[in-house]
Amino acid sequence: MRDVAIIGVGCTKFGELWDRSFRDIFVEAGVSSLEDAGIQGEDIGGIYVGNMSGGRFVEQEHIGSLIADYSGLASTLHVPATRVEAACASGGLALRQAIFAIASGYNDIVVAAGAEKMTDVSPDIATDALAAAADREWEGIVGATFPGLYAMIARLHMHTYGTTSEQLASVSVKNHHNGTMNPIAQFRNEITIDTVLNSSMVADPLHMFDCSPISDGASSVVLTTADAAKKYTDTPVYIKATALACDTISLHDRPDITTLGATVEAGKRAYRMAGLTSKNIDLVEVHDCFTIAEICAIEDLGFFKKGEGGRATYDGETAIDAQIPINPSGGLKTCGHPVGATGIKQAVEITEQLRGTAGKRQVDGAEVGMTHNVGGTGGTAVVHIFSRNR
């Protein structure tokens, strides 16, 4: 296996991009990543694109061909493009497939992208499309919504560990603060704990401000071998680990509802592959589709003891200048969550941080970063570890 590095990144602004089409956004993200890497279409050996539900959100399948085509890479170059799907973890999975393509020696330069256009349909259709990330036949049919499933995780976490609504809200407050410093973020406003607690109840105990929004966006990274990376950039970011784990698709089939077994296992596999522990990680982008999801993630990845995630967040231990900065980008809550794009956007953020180009939200001395991307309520978890040192 060959070592792999990121040599270029690109990302659209995330948000309600009413005036832009699905094609517009993936072209923008893709082109900016190629420009950042300083490569041409002829250099590209393949494209992997994360997209959860083109069929529901823009009534378009066959996304690989569409992306190659409108990126100008199909009609003459016939670049191979593969769509990858694992619900909200589609982006992370696309990155993983791209890493394999380079590591195996099959390709020398590969693009890993993610794109989702969610606001071309009404919010109730978008919500129903997202519900397909859970078990439609045995969760969806009985009336369980996606926020409802995470609300049940939150309820049991509160019951078992004494986690409070204020602690949940503090995740959102921290991420909103970080988002004010991120130019691509959908929301760039400070909020308070009361903002969260006074927002409408979606599924008790989760309020509207505990939930990530419906968004449009695309993101892209360019990968090559670690050996070749310095030809393209002075600041390559090296992939130290890629790990994927699956768990039951239904929440009710898990032995502990407050633990995402897929996150625990993907984390362990990633630490083992990189030869690192949680103590070596300088910053993490976790999958905060709901505030409780961030709390579970930082526990399940080993940064805090089970049950301590809420308290630690409330006490400021996950802020940008604290011991372990979590979601310096603002996370899914404030960047927005165009599902297929999220996993790649996390890698874009870690790359910016490890290059030292993250501006006001820069984590001081960032050397090693991690991304954590979840599908559904934890049926899939993808974890990557990145380093600025080979």
Partner: protein, 132 residues
């Protein structure tokens, strides 16, 4: 939302109406929804149909305020993960005042209307739970 008039829904009616799942008689584990492969024994498992007694307790719950499609008229409603006495868990509605539902509450299954498809006015049925 999948259409309740298609085979996908109707073919599971015995399971949905009567809580019929499966048991692996090799290891004794019960499964609802039904599974054809036991995750413990895999191909050594011996899977048989099993009708659950319908009694269990609330593991965790939520009160849904933003409803799933087809559930608008019932909002707010309680959704819970219920651990059946046989040891397996499922997701279902608990019919009671949202203020009453709590973790550890004993419940039993009842046959009820689940929801309706507004376009066709089709009503569909299944299992819900009520406090014991």
């Amino acid at each position: 939302m999948i259409s309740m008039t298609v085979a996908r829904f109707w073919r599971m009616i015995p399971n949905r109406y009567n809580l019929i799942g499966t048991q692996c008689t090799n290891c004794g584990q019960y499964y609802f929804p039904p599974r054809k492969i036991c995750p413990t024994c895999r191909r050594d498992g011996k899977i048989e149909e099993y009708k659950f007694k319908g009694k269990g307790e609330v593991v965790t719950y939520t009160v849904i305020h933003t409803p799933a499609k087809g559930y608008d008229q019932q909002t707010p409603y309680n959704i819970a993960i219920i651990k059946l006495d046989e040891g397996t868990s499922l997701t279902g509605q608990v019919i009671c005042d949202p203020k009453e539902i709590q973790i550890g509450m004993k419940v039993r299954s009842v046959f009820r209307k689940l929801g309706e498809e507004s376009e066709r006015g089709m009503i569909y049925y299944g299992t819900k739970f009520v406090p014991e």
